[in-house]
Amino acid sequence: MTDSKYFTTTKKGEIFELKAELNSDKKEKKKEAVKKVIASMTVGKDVSALFPDVVNCMQTDNLELKKLVYLYLMNYAKSQPDMAIMAVNTFVKDCEDPNPLIRALAVRTMGCIRVDKITEYLCEPLRKCLKDEDPYVRKTAAVCVAKLHDINAQLVEDQGFLDTLKDLISDSNPMVVANAVAALSEIAESHPSSNLLDLNPQSINKLLTALNECTEWGQIFILDCLANYTPKDDREAQSICERVTPRLSHANSAVVLSAVKVLMKFMEMLSKDLDYYGTLLKKLAPPLVTLLSAEPELQYVALRNINLIVQKRPEILKHEMKVFFVKYNDPIYVKLEKLDIMIRLASQANIAQVLAELKEYATEVDVDFVRKAVRAIGRCAIKVEQSAERCVSTLLDLIQTKVNYVVQEAIVVIKDIFRKYPNKYESVIATLCENLDSLDEPEARAAMIWIVGEYAERIDNADELLESFLEGFHDESTQVQLQLLTAIVKLFLKKPTETQELVQQVLSLATQDSDNPDLRDRGYIYWRLLSTDPVAAKEVVLAEKPLISEETDLIEPTLLDELICYIGTLASVYHKPPSAFVEGGRGVVHKTLPPRTASNESTESPETAPAGAPPGEQPDVIPAQGDLLGDLLNLDLGPPVSGPPLATSSVQMGAVDLLGGGLDSLIGGTNFVAPPTAAVPANLGAPIGSGLSDLFDLTSGVGTLSGSYVAPKAVWLPAMKAKGLEISGTFTRQVGSISMDLQLTNKALQVMTDFAIQFNRNSFGLAPAAPLQVHAPLSPNQTVEISLPLSTVGSVMKMEPLNNLQVAVKNNIDVFYFSTLYPLHILFVEDGKMDRQMFLATWKDIPNENEAQFQIRDCPLNAEAVSSKLQSSNIFTVARRNVEGQDMLYQSLKLTNGIWVLAELRIQPGNPSCTLSLKCRAPEVSQHVYQAYETILKN
């Protein structure tokens, strides 16, 4: 005898039959009939026509029948509001029933009947129930306030229910407290501005007490509520953390994750030196690991959150790599998340294990998963330098399997590896070329074409390969077309003789037969470049590429901090703040991590100040200066001149190709000339953004320098060109002596000793005044700073450009050569002030054709400032005049080899650019003096 009998339809007049049964005199028959009605309702049949008959059964002392009728009412009251009124009296009467179960049931059901007319009658019973002697009734009534608020918010406020609800937070029964918190949180969500839950230390204490005693669900509500509180200092934060930690051992994973959220948030306030901080970190790992042994759906949510936690505090799970290893019968959504976290946790210590696993995954059946695994291998190579070699050989093994999609993914990632470690793994190109024919996805084709173009000089049949792609040019995707165009131009520049026809062909295909403006524009740019100045074209197209950065998919830090506040919520699953997706666009309050404030410190320390926005205020989401600059640059230099339009790297490439090219052409094209400013990333691994922010730092920092201006150290000799020795440096002039400040870094794995340095003959006779003294052997990863004094008594040979310096550095491994440009102002001597008369005479004496005029733009300084700035670099103001509102400065300087340079600087107040006229007997120095002027004035 089962309920399924209620589903059987025997006759056409089913409703009619039920009606008759509902009106039966027999109790038993009535109940059976109501059950049939409910059963029909659950499967979506419309039984609303029976409304009056069912309501008639409500007046009964049989609890089950009453409940069933209530169930029916909740479902259909909305569609029959007038009829529903009939039920009101019974509800009101039931709210007075001596049995608390019935009182609670009545108030609960009334709240679920979403009919305006009924809500009016609900207020009085609800008020009574909120103060009921029985906590079971009170806790039910608390939820009822939330229900009522959902139907008629104004009514709830007018009736003062919110205050009563707030009072319930101090109730003696923990379940009532938990439900009151839950109800308030739900109401607060639709009223983000209201401070319904203004927490203070007293109420926090109440909540923490209730936390220990209420049900698991209540604990979740309370913990989520606690997470919105900002403790006043680190002591309070610690004491809350201490009381929340036991929740990490709860069997309910939602409780665990909510506790993790509270801890992650409040930890921000604790000092890292605190013992407690370390203990807390240790306590966080095991519960997170345990979440991964739960059901897959729970695992998924946990993994999405762990992804955030690992980015914020990688130290928590750094030893737990193995739990993220994928089981072959994990659901795909779990597999992909695990893989993501594996890469985030990959480090030198565990890379061997990770690689072995990834290789295993790459032979699995699921295509999406295999692709991601192959990509992961590439990301490991880029992230952990020591593993690059192994990763490449693993990828080669995978290519040998000839599984189509594996090969394609592998080629895409190998291209990135080439970008990261130039001149290291090009030997594998031959293997890659073998698989050319099997590539059918645009991304893989584009990557392969990029490789062929980039290394055209090492691939004998590069022209044939590219030609074969050209045949179906118009059928290719834009990505491939652009890449093909660039690759062929590169090939032409490298092997001009054999490939003239090919380049003609591709340029005409791109410019004449294509509808794609990007492609046409790029085609025209190349065409003009090639036809006007092939040398410049070479410098632009074949410029050295900046290195790609390691982690391209990290969440932006401010967003990450916000998301940490949302651990355990949908926001943490989507990795988007709730404002980005929550329905209705109600002004969702942004959350921020609390600033670190020590209890014994009254003022905030400067480093925490930026995070100090009070909670509830909008945090500023302006990206860091570096990012902003990067963006602007990207805008300006929008169309990438060369380089693949990859999602991860196009920004940097586009920007720097032009920049790099421009600089190279200024300098004149020796092979590794260090750029004179930090415009090209000073740091090898750094993306362009940081390079630019270096520039920024520079501007702000220079004013304080005494002595002549010192440029920041630039990398002169990158490690990969010198078997692991990296040299960066700059030139300084202080109290009459010139020195070369060097920074030697050992990036190799062996110790370096026996350093020596020598200069080639140069224009001003610069030579080391003392041997290069590196006292101790340089061990791996060690950096040493040396200041090498220079003299100007070495042998002289005119260089092109004038300030070019060729240097040889020797160590126990090999001899390395590099060249660099020194700024001319290091050669300006201290006694360069000319007497006024002498100045006038010399000015007249020097023929006019030796005069050179330059514009110094964007220099909004006044005459005094200019004068004093220049004086510190030994450019002396001889005289000053004011002619028609313009300040004229007459200046002199002397070079170490006795050459005098006379200058006239015209400054117009209000006009940021000034005019510089230089007169010198050796006019070839003028250009460099002007550059020195510019460097000094702008820094």
Binding site: M1, T2, D3, Y6, K31, K35, I38, T42, G44, L63, E64, L65, K67, L71, K78, N99, R108, C112, D134, P135, Y136, V143, A146, D150, A182, E186, T215, W217, P246, A251, A254, V256, P286, P287, V289, T290, S293, E295, P296, L298, Y300, V301, H319, K322, V323, K327, Y328, P331, Y333, A356, E357, E360, T363, T401, L570, A571, V573, P578, V582, E583
Partner: protein, 418 residues
């Protein structure tokens, strides 16, 4: 909070819906069906699906999708945990959780769901309390109900609801007072080709069946409590005692419950009780491959390994297999390519093996992937982590209960790569 719940069977029919707030049209499930179609297997349907106005959170259990609909920002784990609780409750009430059973008991299901949530807020999720509110159907009760006209809805306020021990009802009486504890450990492991362990961890639980009169207060202590890495307790366990003394002290719920679950992680060396020797080779030229596996005991502490089954998903290129087992029975399904071998007990003197050939698709190149072998087994009277209960004491009541402790080790996700 939780708006609605839809139960959907694997053929995509919604066979039950329950709304705790206003009614959400079942058309919202269309988004779920789309996702279901996209996923190749039911297990792969993502647990969180956004739709324009709602979010669908689902769990897949017993071939039924339990799809919860939410509208505002709600902790997804909260919803998923709740859905699991619904499944557990159904199983507790009806013995099995399946579409026919749910349909057979639809009114009870509806009543139970109504008690579990109020306006989307959890109300009563402890099965002890639910059973007091709504009595589970039994054959006897149905008969009695029909004769006497009584109902299966209790009319008393469940006593536990508001007491400090909400998990236990008052006035429990038994003639035979007994308390049984099962220590069950599952080994999750991945073993690589060469037989070395890549990861291994133990998920342990202590399930209890306590039928004691009155309000007994129990303490349970271990010989080696430090073994446990991460423990999750039933709310009845007093956390402070555990923190300070490593003793489990609790007033137990009445009946069956999970006292704690724990985790012994990869850092501690986990003993692997079985090994699999395999020789699976596909040859390029011929359309036959060789297949041979042998299962043997490794670190079993002298106990017998029972209930061994070996399953393996063979590559698509395998058309059929002709194999001979030294013991047990085996099947190979040429459609799903699933090989399963029911081995039974392992006799260390005569190791079970399965040998034979595979016929491969002619002309096709050899499969790229090697099959992974999945292993199931049981070892009675052994907790592989070495965990041992020291003693169990009862306070607060005068009678002498009958106590018992059982150990068992099982394979969890135990995989051998080939």
């Amino acid at each position: 909070m939780i708006h609605s719940l839809f139960l959907i069977n694997s053929s995509g029919d919604i066979f039950l819906e329950k709304h705790w707030k206003s009614v959400v049209s079942r058309s919202v499930c269309d988004y779920f069906f789309e996702a279901q179609e996209r996923a190749t297997e039911a297990e792969n349907v993502p647990p969180v699906i956004p739709t324009p106005h709602h979010y669908l959170l689902s769990v897949y259990r017993h071939k039924i999708f339990f799809v919860a609909v939410i509208q505002t920002e709600v902790p997804p784990l909260f919803v998923i945990e709740f859905l699991h609780r619904v499944v557990d409750t159904f199983q507790d009430y009806f013995g099995v959780c399946s579409e026919p059973v749910i349909k057979d008991n639809v009114v009870v299901v509806y009543e139970v769901l109504e008690e579990m949530l109020d306006n989307g807020f959890p109300l009563a999720t402890e099965s002890n309390i639910l059973k007091e509110l709504i009595k589970p159907p039994t054959i006897l009760r149905t008969v009695v109900n029909t004769i006497t006209g009584s109902t299966n809805v209790g009319d008393q306020l469940p006593t536990g609801q508001l007491s400090v021990v909400p998990w236990r009802r008052t006035g429990v009486k038994y003639t035979n007072n007994e308390a049984y504890f099962d220590v069950i450990e599952e080994i999750d492991a991945i073993i690589d080709k060469s037989g070395s362990t890549i990861t291994a961890e133990i998920q342990g639980v202590i399930d209890a069946c306590v039928k004691l009169t009155g309000m007994p207060d129990l303490t349970l202590s271990f010989m080696n409590p430090r073994l446990l890495d991460d423990v999750s307790f039933h709310p009845c366990v007093r956390f402070k005692r555990w923190e300070s003394e490593r003793i489990l002290s609790f007033i137990p719920p009445d009946g069956n419950f999970r006292l704690l679950s724990y985790h012994v992680s990869a850092q501690n060396l986990v003993a692997i009780p079985v090994y699999v020797k395999h020789n699976i080779s596909f040859r390029d030229s011929s359309s036959f491959g060789r297949f041979e596996i042998t299962v043997g005991p490794k670190q079993t502490m002298g106990k017998t390994i029972e209930g061994v089954t070996v399953t393996s998903q063979m590559p698509k290129g395998v058309l059929n297999m002709s194999l001979t087992p030294s013991q047990g029975t085996h099947t190979f399904d040429p459609v799903t390519k699933m090989l399963s071998w029911d081995v039974g007990k392992i006799n260390p003197q005569k190791l079970p093996s399965l040998k034979g050939t595979m016929s491969l698709q002619a002309g096709a190149s050899k499969p790229d992937e090697n099959p992974t072998i999945n292993l199931q087994f049981k070892i009675q009277q052994l907790a592989i982590s070495g965990l041992k209960v020291n003693r169990l004491d009862m306070y607060g009541e005068k009678y002498k209960p009958f106590k018992g402790i059982k150990y068992m080790t099982k394979a969890g996700k135990f995989q051998v790569r080939t």
